[in-house]
Amino acid sequence: MTICKAKYALLLAAVCMSALWSGSARAALGSDAASVSVDGASMHGDVQSEIRERYQVLKISTAAGISVREYLNKDGIVFAVSWNGPVPPDLQRLLGEHFTTYAAALAAVDHPGVRRSLRVESSGLILELGGHLRAYAGRAYLAALIPGGIPAAEFL
């Protein structure tokens, strides 16, 4: 586990703690905070933490200008991810086990490539893509895990 290295000193102690009982988390959405740190390392990005009233945001930013935000509920589970930058992030990594749900939902969309703005909803996963060359943005969330009362607009 590399997550408690100095590069990620900004991560809260809780993050390091959670890593102890997380097992080998590989991807973020639906996983715990340790997986965020793995994402940060894979993107060669810095990770910063921000505590809000009912959730925590871990922000990964890379030198290339890609920004990823991962939202954790009180149980330490990532319930939403959002991103923007000159390229989209590696969605296979970011969505983890939910990527297959996304790929299947995408396959059912007529001409997903042309739909530069796209929303797919399947098995509790909601994923929104937007943007174009030079500026991509999007988000994915698990509706059932959102802390009560938080409007979806808050984790854009």
Binding site: V87, D90, F99, Y102, A107, H111, R116, R134, L156
Partner: protein, 412 residues
């Protein structure tokens, strides 16, 4: 040569003066620009290999092997896309045309290939040089992307097209290619030139097919051909008529005009023009209101999108029929609006009213629909093809000047 051009100009000036004097308003059709700068745009059901397209605007693009006057072909049904930059051709279509393009290589002699994300899919394939002609305009040795649907180049890296999302073939876009003529000259720009960790867009590929992301100079990047024209290179105008039947027309014909305020046929109107400056990403702002809450979103006027694309959870999504995923308002047509705001010097504000119909009431098998809205994501607002019907849309290229306006901007 020059004298001839002046004479033609004089003649056209006199002609339009005479027409103006007689009270006719159709002066544009009777003037002959010095360089033919107008290309027919057709909205129809698509290329033979992928019919059933809706709200796709097509042009025919002439390409030649760089430096050749004889190794040429006209590729029809290339998607006119104001939301991207650069020409991309389907590899199998190019091969069938008999025109071979020489591939671009980097300083180490590696073949340059590219991965580009369009919505939920990616195109993958080599960058090659072509001489591209559009109407009377030409761009020599233009870097274009060959979308490798036949798998004849190096295979895409794992991150490109993951989960079966490659869209290289004719069915990916319902088109034989994509002509990106939006607000930028290069498709990636500075972000791909000097990055310490190269973006996963341009790759150097060995003969063995191993590809590694690398930077690409601006001159090596896939480039909007308009920016490379000798003249008429400061932007484009897309001019489409309104629909005859609001519930759907089988086809629509209009024009793609090169240059803004450079010739008699692309003048800016003296009054009534809304000019929306765009930011470094190519977006202006559209503010859309849901349940009294207004949200400002990055926005585009984008002919590559078939609908008004945005997210409004208060509007029902079509669950059955031929338009699953688009909006099916319970009380259709539903009136809607968004407020456009320009960024920077060209900071006009303009409210646009539009309507959202139930697409299940559209004319069957028609190709052009004006009241079509889609379930887009909530991170952007896109004025897609419906916005183009009945309008002249001006798109100014970054850093290029037309009269008093400097790109990037969108105007209508």
């Amino acid at each position: 040569m020059r004298v001839t051009q002046i004479l033609v100009l004089l003649a056209t000036t006199l002609l339009s003066a005479c027409i103006g004097g007689s009270g006719t308003t159709a002066a544009t059709n009777n003037t002959v620009p010095a360089t033919p700068n107008s290309l027919t745009v057709s909205v129809d059901s698509g290329p033979a290999a992928a019919t059933g397209a809706i709200n796709h605007a097509y042009v025919t693009v002439k390409i030649c092997t760089a430096g050749s006057k004889t190794q040429c072909a006209s590729i029809d049904h290339v998607l006119l896309d104001t939301g991207s930059w650069g020409l991309r051709l389907v590899g199998s279509v190019l091969a069938a045309s008999g025109v071979a393009l020489s591939g671009e290589t980097d300083a180490q002699g590696l073949a340059i290939e590219e991965c580009v994300t369009f919505g939920g899919g990616q195109t993958w394939g080599p960058v090659a040089f072509a001489d591209v002609s559009l109407a009377g305009e030409s761009a020599a040795k233009l870097p274009v992307q060959i979308m490798d649907d036949a798998g004849t180049s190096a295979p895409p890296p794992a991150a490109c097209g993951a989960g079966g999302t490659l869209i290289n073939g004719v069915s990916g876009f319902d088109a034989n290619g994509v002509l990106g003529v939006g607000v930028f000259a290069q498709d990636c720009g500075a972000a791909c030139v000097n990055a310490a960790a190269p973006l996963p867009i341009y790759y150097g590929c060995t003969a063995a097919g191993v590809c590694t992301a690398e930077n690409a100079a601006l001159s090596a990047q896939v480039t909007n051909p308009v920016a490379m024209f000798a003249a008429d290179n400061n932007g484009i105008i897309v001019s489409l008529p309104n629909l005859v039947n609001a519930n759907g027309d089988a086809s629509v014909q209009g024009e793609l005009i090169f240059g803004i305020a450079t010739q008699v046929d692309n003048a800016l109107p003296a009054t009534g023009l809304t000019v929306l400056g765009a930011n470094a990403s190519g977006d202006f702002t559209a503010t859309y209101t849901i349940n009294g809450v207004a949200t400002a979103l990055p926005a585009l006027i984008d002919s590559g999108i078939d609908s008004y694309a945005f997210n409004d959870p208060t509007i029902a999504v079509c669950a059955t029929g031929a338009f699953i995923g688009y909006y099916c308002p319970v009380a259709a047509p539903q009136a809607a609006f968004a407020v456009n705001s320009g960024v920077g010097v060209n900071n006009a504000t303009n409210t646009v009213d539009f309507a959202i119909a139930d697409p299940n009431t559209f004319v069957a098998n028609a190709a052009a629909f004006i009241d079509l809205a889609g379930g887009g994501g909530s991170t952007t607002f896109t004025w897609g093809m419906p916005f183009f019907y009945g309008r002249k849309i001006y798109i100014g290229i970054d850093q290029r000047v037309a009269a008093t306006y400097t790109g990037p901007y969108y105007a209508y």
